[in-house]
């Protein structure tokens, strides 16, 4: 059985089924079931990769290599846990009258479609299809962001749509240029867009074209990554959409976009034989970390704040890949993994906290620990983890990034020190009174699904202390592949 195709088909089928029956009472469970099936397929796929190594499917149109295998598993996993969280969460939202059965239908269907698009983007070998899948993921999430139909959510979705649409159009132009360059070496046809083929001939491709192509691709996919100054859609979309969507946006979509950038970077580095791509990424990364840190220190809305935190972390990862080299790349990949685990866990906790307090304004959420210790500890530990407190995995990657930067780019380290300090001060100052102190929140009708929170935190903790050897092997191979 071809697990890869199965993994893509299940969510697609799920989207269809849920488009019809997604408004029913048990739909959240069905949604989770589909996600779980996807995850099982992904897990089987992974185990096969562990056993047999990289593999291809459908005439090399799809492939699994060390760079995407862990992302695939991660995506399927987080999509599944988020669907677990989303069940009770959306039920409560319906009880509050924010969701109707029709909207539930749309929500569940788009959720599956979004998963499908992301998995497609990750597994496709075709740079053109990658673009299509990214666009598809955008469209699906636009609908998800606007699902409450409030003024704010519409505005957020509109901005999201326009900004990402324009961005992704740039990426298409970049892809065309890439094709143009490949055309000269490989010849026209589908083969010229296959990443594996491009990778083999990367040193022969025309540097002038590829440097321009990379600019378009970077600006295009970078918009989706949320790099400053292309990030403006991100906080709005995170804050106004349903929390499960914020979780997958932050945890998965940003990763996938960054993954696309990485794929392009490999080709460009091969063609250019200089550090242009890396330098641009360093610039974007630093700018994102710095600006996001200062943005963090002026937030009032909890989801918005964690959205900026995602920008900060994406900046850090981009910075790491910009530096390049085995250690920084390794750290970047690790950071991608851990960030998506932890950040989605935070959003789960935040989601319930917001429901309990009835507001997203942080100053009005207090004392979570006294009303629900699990939500409180989840939020507290998650925030500390995302701020780079060991023994969570974020620290491990920050450790590697900073120590490498200290010798590779010493001038950047004071900026990073400043940004991390400001970010810590900002986030922690706001999270602490939310968790500690006297409470104003009330209990919920449905028991919150907090197992995912601690599952994610547990994994994040594990990655800080122990990384499974095959994961290490993937990271190392991928890091070598990314080069730098």
């Amino acid at each position: 059985m071809n697990w890869l195709l199965l993994m893509l088909i299940i969510p697609f089928a799920g989207a269809g089924v849920l488009a019809l029956y997604g408004g029913r009472e048990r739909a959240p469970e069905v949604n989770s079931a589909f996600s779980f099936a996807t995850f099982i397929a992904a897990a089987m796929l992974t185990s096969k990769v562990i056993a047999d190594g990289p593999l291809y499917a459908l005439e090399r149109q799809f492939f699994i290599d060390p760079l995407n295998v862990f992302l695939v598993t991660l995506t399927a996993f987080v999509a599944w846990t988020t669907s677990l969280f989303s069940g009770p969460y959306m039920r409560i939202e319906s009880d509050h009258g924010k969701m109707t059965p029709r909207r539930m239908r749309l929500y569940h269907s788009m959720y599956q479609l979004f998963t499908c698009a992301m998995l497609l983007a990750l597994t496709t070998n075709n740079m053109g299809l990658l673009w299509v899948a990214m666009e598809g993921a955008t469209l699906a999430t636009v609908l998800l962001v606007s699902i409450y139909r409030t003024a704010a959510s519409l505005e957020a979705a509109w901005k999201y749509f326009i900004l990402c649409g324009v961005g992704i159009a740039q990426a298409l132009f970049g892809t065309i240029l890439l094709y143009l360059a490949a055309d000269r070496v490989i010849g026209a046809g589908t083969g010229a867009l296959l990443w594996t083929n491009l990778e083999q001939v990367k040193t022969h491709m025309e540097p002038t074209i590829l440097s321009l192509a990379f600019v378009f691709l970077l600006v295009g996919y970078g918009t989706k990554v949320g790099l400053v100054p292309l990030h403006n859609w991100l906080p709005d979309a995170h804050a106004e959409g349903p929390t499960p969507i914020s979780a997958v946006l932050s945890g998965l979509l940003l990763n996938v976009a960054l993954y696309a950038v990485l794929r392009c970077k490999v080709l460009v580095d091969g063609a250019l034989q200089n550090h242009m791509a890396g330098n641009m990424m360093i610039g974007f990364g630093l700018l994102s970390v710095l600006i996001a840190a200062f943005f963090l220190s002026r937030q009032k809305d909890v989801k918005r704040m964690f959205a900026y935190s995602s920008i900060e972390h994406m900046g850090l990862i981009t910075f790491a890949f910009g530096i390049g080299g085995p250690i920084a790349n390794f750290a970047g990949l690790l950071h991608m993994t851990v960030h998506s685990l932890i950040k989605s866990a935070i959003f789960f906790a935040v989601g319930h906290a917001v429901q309990k307090a009835g507001t997203q304004t942080m100053s009005r959420i207090t004392g979570l620990l006294s009303i629900s210790p699990t939500v409180g500890w989840g939020l507290m530990l998650g925030s500390l983890a995302i701020l780079g407190m060991p023994p969570f995995g974020v620290f491990a990657s920050e450790f590697l990034i900073l120590t490498t930067a200290m010798r590779e780019l010493p001038w950047a380290t004071p900026l990073l020190l400043l940004a991390l300090g400001v970010a810590f001060a900002a986030v922690f100052q706001r999270v602490q009174p939310m968790v500690f102190g006297e409470t104003t929140a009330k209990p919920l009708q449905h028991p919150p699904a907090l197992i995912p929170v601690f599952m994610h935190l547990g994994l994040g903790l594990m990655l800080g202390l122990y990384i499974p050897p095959y994961l290490v092997a993937w990271y190392q191979q991928a890091a070598r592949m990314i080069g730098g």
């Binding site: 321009l212 600019v215 600006i291 200062f294 002026r298 620290f395 900073l402 120590t403």
Partner: protein, 660 residues
């Protein structure tokens, strides 16, 4: 060693399982933890001087397991840790009460995690495990500090603490980044092998100084200390002050003496001056405090300053290859590490008992407790005397050694330094004397005189476990005071390891009761004889007075100077006791005073002494951050056209860049 750590972690886990079963946690788990501490202390002592033991745990980053290494330096700090925590854990067993903040089981987890992480920091042999444990230590202690998180000040204190700890940790991390010299190998062994240029070595040193300084509380990174210590439960304050600050000392020692292959003389001068300023600042502020735990916190700052002075001096000598003197100064610093750990944790647990007995931290509402809580009072008297640096207790030995190392300065090759060092010695003398002042205030105002509040008469003495804990710490303090030559001989492997000079022959050359690090003719100190001398003359005087005269005694009301309306509130207050210091060191403080006028119907006097650094340094930084984030906020004004313009301009700019 690892067994002890595992036991601690296991206790912590059990604690979580028994989340709300208070009796089990307090009466079983904490004493078990104390027993483990004792084992740790003994194990460390046996490892002292032996060959370094290495272990690798299958955790950590790929290619970088957790490397642990137990050498003499680690063993020394583990001994301090084990010794102090034995007492503090016993005390804690009796201290924690039901129903305050964090559930007891969780507290138990955090507490033992804190202990284990401190031990692992000291044992770490690669940068990663060091950093992980360093931050775990900060984190677990943060949760302990904020155990009673319903109080806003405590949250604020915890916040400040964790923030500074984190920023410091990043600096340490960057320091390791320099040390690994781009080799990608984070083991300490590799770092030792790297030869850094003086420039990079200096960067590493400065980063280490900043990072460890933030934890140790050197000026101007001390601000968290006087906030966090009062906020924390007393056993936790005791551990933080007594042990955790020492891990920062350990880190600085490890980096400068062990990992760095180059030492520059100006590092020593820098450390010396920073230490001196810190000590002076700490003691002056400590003298004017009215909150007993804040007073102790500032006193900790002072002592850390003294330790830094010793280290700085040692570094200076070391850089000039005067290893004998370097060894002496280092001995002073290390001795102070141990003695401060003992007496400061003792004092903190004593304040804990006072707090439990009275519910009061403000010196202005205490007094006369020696009559109600004699155990606590007499035991803390020992602590206070040690803290004041009086012979024959532990604090004096280290001050004595420190002053000796100053006085034995033979001409350094730098005439400026030759002038500087005696002045520093004089300043140290001043600091020591001020510490005495502070401790008289501390002890006198809390325990002596008449109770300033009615309710103090109901104060109860410490419980059995608490008493045992305190007695243990007192025993350590006394031992450190009376057995300096034994102890120095025991820790001489550490000194040898760092300064490459062995003090033990010159110590061993004398009788066991005599401490003479160079020779008897130059300087010597025999605390046992000293104590016996005083005790003998006291006893003799007592016996002779009884023999020749009598022992008749009559009690009556004290003399009121003809003013019968005097009451307990008219005793000198803590503010009053600090008044001369406020006057003499006025430029140090930022004061708000409210003086009564002669015409006031109800005269009020109020004085608020604040840390000026807060206003000179921290608030401006906060303001700048706020201002920058205002500017940054302008970037995002909600207009989609502007956002598109950003993308457009970015695109154009990058295209221009790519074209070149």
């Amino acid at each position: 060693m690892l067994v002890v750590l595992t036991v601690w972690l296991a206790i912590g886990t059990f604690g979580v399982l028994a989340l709300h079963r208070f009796a089990l946690v307090a009466k079983v788990f904490f004493p078990m933890g104390a027993a483990a501490s004792l084992v740790l202390c003994v194990a460390a002592a046996s490892a002292m001087g032996g060959a370094a033991e290495v272990a690798e745990l299958p955790f950590g980053l790929p290619g970088l397991n957790f490397h642990l290494r137990l050498d003499s330096l680690s063993a020394l700090f583990l001994m301090v840790l084990g010794g102090v925590t034995t007492g503090v854990s016993l005390f804690a067993a009796g201290y924690f009460r039901k129903g305050e903040g964090t559930p007891p089981g969780l507290l138990c987890l955090q507490y033992h995690l804190f202990l284990a992480s401190m031990a692992l920091v000291v044992l770490a042999d690669d940068a990663y495990v060091f950093m992980v444990m360093w931050e775990t230590m900060a984190l677990s202690s943060f949760f302990l500090v904020t155990a009673n998180h319903r109080i806003a000040e405590i949250r604020q204190a915890g916040y400040l603490y964790l923030l500074l700890a984190h920023v410091g940790a990043i600096a340490i991390l960057l320091c390791f980044g320099v040390l690994q010299a781009n080799s990608g190998d984070y083991t300490f062994n590799n770092m030792r092998a790297q030869h850094l240029s003086p420039f990079w070595a200096s960067i590493a040193f400065l980063l280490a100084l900043f990072g460890f300084g933030a934890k140790a509380g050197i000026l101007p990174l001390h601000v968290w200390l006087p906030e966090a210590h009062p906020a924390a439960p007393s056993p936790v304050s005791a551990l933080m002050s007594g042990v955790m600050l020492k891990t920062a000392v350990y880190g600085l020692l490890r980096v400068t003496f062990d990992l760095l292959s180059v030492q520059l003389w100006w590092w020593g001068v820098l450390l010396l001056s920073v230490g001196l300023l810190t000590a002076l600042f700490g003691v002056v502020f400590s003298a004017v405090q009215v909150d007993m735990k804040r007073l102790l916190a500032y006193s900790s700052i002072e002592n850390i300053g003294l330790i830094m002075v010793g280290m700085g001096l040692s570094l200076l000598f070391y850089a000039y290859h005067m290893s004998a003197l370097a060894a002496l100064a280092l001995a002073a610093a290390l001795y102070h590490v141990a003695s401060h750990a003992a007496f400061k944790s003792l004092l903190f647990v004593c304040t804990g008992s006072v707090l439990h007995a009275t519910g009061e931290r403000n010196l202005g509402r205490l007094g006369g407790l020696i009559r109600y809580t004699p155990w606590v009072a007499w035991l803390s008297l020992i602590g206070a005397l040690a803290s004041a640096g009086l012979p024959p207790l532990g604090g004096f030995v280290s001050e004595w050694l420190l002053l000796q190392s100053f006085l034995f300065t033979p001409g350094l090759p730098n005439s400026f330094l030759n002038m500087l060092i005696p002045v520093v010695a004089a300043a140290i003398a001043l600091i020591a004397a001020l510490a005495g002042y502070t401790m008289v205030k501390f002890f006198g105002v809390i325990f002596l005189g008449r109770p300033r509040e009615e309710k103090l008469a109901q104060a109860h003495d410490a419980g059995t476990l608490e008493k045992i804990g305190m007695l243990w710490l007192v025993a350590i303090s006394i031992l450190l005071g009376l057995m300096p030559s034994q102890i120095l001989k025991a820790i001489s492997p550490v000194i040898k390891q760092l300064s490459l000079f062995d003090l033990s022959p010159s110590i061993a050359a004398n009788a066991w009761w005599l401490l003479a690090p160079i020779s008897v003719a130059r300087a010597s100190y025999g605390p046992v004889i000293f104590l016996l001398g005083v005790a003998a003359s006291c006893t003799l005087a007592y016996i002779l007075v009884r023999l020749f005269y009598h022992g008749r005694l009559r009690r009556s009301a004290p003399w009121d100077c003809g003013y019968p309306l005097q009451n307990a509130r008219m005793q000198d207050t803590a503010e009053g006791f600090g008044q001369p210091i406020r006057q003499i060191f006025e430029p140090f403080f930022r004061m708000e005073r409210e003086l009564p006028s002669p015409f006031d119907a109800q005269p009020r006097y109020r004085v608020l002494v604040e840390d000026p650094l807060w206003y000179w340094l921290y608030l401006p930084i906060a303001r700048w951050v706020e201002r920058i984030s205002q500017w940054v906020g302008m970037l995002q004004k909600g207009r989609i056209a502007v956002y598109l313009l950003y993308s457009f301009l970015t695109l154009v700019a990058l295209l221009l860049m790519a074209k070149q």
